[in-house]
């Protein structure tokens, strides 16, 4: 058995879409994006904690430059402009992954039948929030110039999670045209909090004679699990709890990735995958907070005590105060809940061309019969609570020579229409090296970028003699 040893230092800052890595078959990590990807090597081992370090952040609606530009404009006016240009479909997303360990190997059941098994454990954190525009407008303006405007509290949609994922996948080349793959996952949620099923509103309605009617309708919920360790004052205990949860001690869930590659002719390739079809059931250390109530308030009725004995304005005031206290009273529960993982979809179609020609004889190079070029289109989609996040890329892959491959992409997505990326994979002796970066045009001024990406990888390879 020959091993590829991966010593990867992988730093990236980009959207959840990994268009450069997807289908880059010289880099083994691509098999995590499509368990049915074509595998040309016999095995690999990732160095613990160093095989994949990934970080990405993205925002829609504005860039840091819009508010922090040193242009002499009033800062508060710039913030205001941004707030008013954004809408409730804009969002902020953050995602980070760290491979704890990973490996892959080929199992031979017979000379003809080979099965590629890959497995590993990675830690992931994910934060996602839509822009709650109505809350922002209410905070900015108050209700004074917004009579009859319904402030939608359902726009509050935010989630955050820290989890570990153990996965094992099988990849089988059925024949020269089809490769299929399946990956099973066990999720262990370390900490989770989400408030994604909110409803309700606040409206101020003017009535006759300068009077107002304030109508509150609240149906809001925050679900959390795993947060009780925060109450534990001992740092060591907290760390132990987190370690335990990293290794299946958290709230558990199950999921699968499926994928295939179809090569109807040597020139054409079609592939697709679905990642994270799964759920986590939260039953341990659960605490839910519920805000539920309706209230109409149109002022404190004053009843002069000399007139009607018994009740004064003070009594009315107390009544109103109690009503408000009840409205904003937060109930808590420990009811378990289940949340589906955000499903991701990748698919590409590509065309291979241009075999290597030897100059001396003007004939095909017999040592390297593979195509030197590939062009194609790639679609990425991801399910978010209220919408489908998508990206469409075109790419060109070029094998400069056996040990050096390049891939360039042009991507349009929610973040931008000017995303050009470049990826490189190179082997030099026992060392494999790769670099992937997108949004290259934005690198002139990162502050103008809404999402940026940089991935660097140093890989140590035990040469595969059979290749």
């Amino acid at each position: 058995m020959k091993w590829l040893l991966f010593l990867g230092v992988f730093v990236s800052l980009h959207a959840q879409n990994k268009q450069l890595l997807y289908g880059f078959k010289d880099v083994p990590q691509q098999i995590l994006l499509n368990p049915g990807a074509q595998v040309d090597y016999r095995g690999y081992i990732g160095v613990p904690l160093l095989s994949h370090i990934h970080f990405n952040a993205g925002i829609t609606g504005f860039s840091a430059f819009d508010v922090f530009a040193d242009d002499g404009k009033d800062f508060n006016q710039k913030i205001r402009d941004v707030v008013y240009e954004m809408n409730a479909r804009d969002f902020v997303g953050f995602n980070q992954q760290l491979d704890v360990f990973s490996a892959g190997l080929t199992l031979k059941t017979s000379t003809q039948h080979k099965l590629f098994i890959s497995f590993g454990l990675y830690q992931e954190s994910d934060v996602f929030s839509y822009f709650p525009k109505d809350f922002a407008v209410l905070a900015y303006e108050g209700n004074y110039n917004n009579l009859n405007r319904r402030f939608d509290f359902g726009q509050l949609n935010v989630s955050a999670e820290l989890l570990s994922v153990f996965h094992i996948g099988v990849n089988k080349k059925i024949n020269s045209k089809w490769t299929l793959g399946l990956r099973g996952k066990v999720y262990s949620s370390i900490v989770q909090a989400s408030s994604t099923q909110n409803k309700g509103s606040f409206i101020t309605v003017p009535t006759a004679n300068n009077n107002l009617n304030h109508v509150f309708d609240l149906d809001m919920k925050l679900q959390t699990s795993g947060l009780s360790f925060l109450d534990d004052s001992s740092a060591n205990n907290s760390l132990d709890v987190l370690k335990k949860r990293l290794l299946f001690g958290g709230n558990l869930g199950l999921g699968v990735d499926v994928g295939f590659t179809h090569q109807p002719s040597p020139e054409w390739t079609i592939d697709a995958s679905l990642q994270d079809i799964g759920f986590i059931n939260y039953s341990k250390d659960v605490k839910n907070y519920i805000l539920d109530g309706d209230l109409e308030y149109d002022g404190i009725q004053s009843v002069f005590p000399q007139v009607v004995s018994g009740q004064t304005a003070q009594d009315y005031w107390n009544e109103v105060k109690n009503d408000f206290d009840e409205l904003f009273e937060i109930d808590s529960s420990t009811t378990s809940y289940t949340i589906w993982r955000p499903v991701k979809f990748n698919s590409s179609v590509s065309y291979n061309f241009g075999r290597k020609i030897r100059k001396e004889c003007n004939c095909l190079d017999k040592l390297d019969r593979t195509f030197q070029n590939r062009v194609g289109a790639h679609l990425f989609a991801m399910k978010r609570p209220n919408h489908l996040q998508w990206a469409l890329s075109t790419f060109y892959y070029r094998k400069i020579f056996k040990g050096l491959q390049l891939k360039t992409t042009y991507t349009i997505d929610t973040y931008s229409f000017t995303n050009v990326g470049l990826g490189l994979s190179a082997s030099l002796g026992s060392i494999q090296f790769y670099v992937m970066a997108d949004n290259l045009l934005e690198y002139q001024n990162l502050a103008k970028s809404q999402s940026v990406s940089l991935q660097l990888g140093f890989n140590y390879i035990f040469k595969n003699n059979e290749n």
């Binding site: 209410l138 303006e141 009077n211 004064t312 005031w317 670099v435």
Partner: protein
């Protein structure tokens, strides 16, 4: 080892692109120190509706005034004290009684010391048609400080004699209605 020069070239290219050329230009991140927002909240306050009977004693004679007291906890809260920069109390009075009134608002602090006072004169309505009077009391600077120390509001409605007004009896018609709202100008700084 032939690939080395190529690698070096590409590695350098990417590093140059990724590290040296990726600058954050023409920005000033210190600006966020000055973030402020200025919401204006409009909230309904006290409302009153009284008929002529309310101003008569058991034997059917006019009383000189009626009054009521409201304890206000919100105005002395830290949030209001720190963030309120201006307030307007807007009163709308509709009178259809043929009697003139004076409505007096006295603002007391927790030690029952008078902090602020004002009164609104209401004309009588000889034909019992609804007459509308609006009064806006603006609180800024010193009066704003007075408002922020207010914990009790005393509302007094006094009867006033006027040339065309009558003496109230159980048979007098009409009503006096008061609505009020507060417009609170807030300044929230980060």
């Amino acid at each position: 080892m032939k690939t080395l020069p190529f690698l070096k070239k590409y590695v350098s290219l990417i590093l140059v692109l990724g590290v040296c050329y990726s600058c954050i230009k023409d920005t000033d991140f210190e600006q966020s120190d000055t973030l402020t927002i200025n919401p204006i909240m409009e909230v309904n306050l006290v409302k009153v509706q009284e008929t002529p009977e309310s101003f008569l004693d058991a034997s059917g004679d006019e009383v000189p005034f009626i009054s009521d007291l409201v304890v206000l906890e919100a105005l002395t809260s830290n949030f209001i004290v720190d963030n309120l920069i201006k307030a307007e109390l807007v009163f709308g009075i509709t009178n259809s009684i043929n009697k003139a009134f004076q409505i007096k608002m006295d603002f007391y602090d927790s030690a029952d010391a008078l902090q602020h006072t004002f009164s609104i004169d209401i004309d009588n309505s000889p034909t019992n048609t609804s007459l509308f009077t609006e009064h806006v009391e603006v609180f800024e600077n010193m009066s704003l400080l007075a408002l922020k120390s207010t914990s009790k509001l005393d509302i007094t409605i006094s009867l006033r004699s006027s040339p065309t007004g009558t003496v109230l009896t159980p048979d007098s018609e009409g009503s006096i209605r008061l609505t009020s709202k507060g417009v609170f100008y807030l300044k929230l700084s980060s």
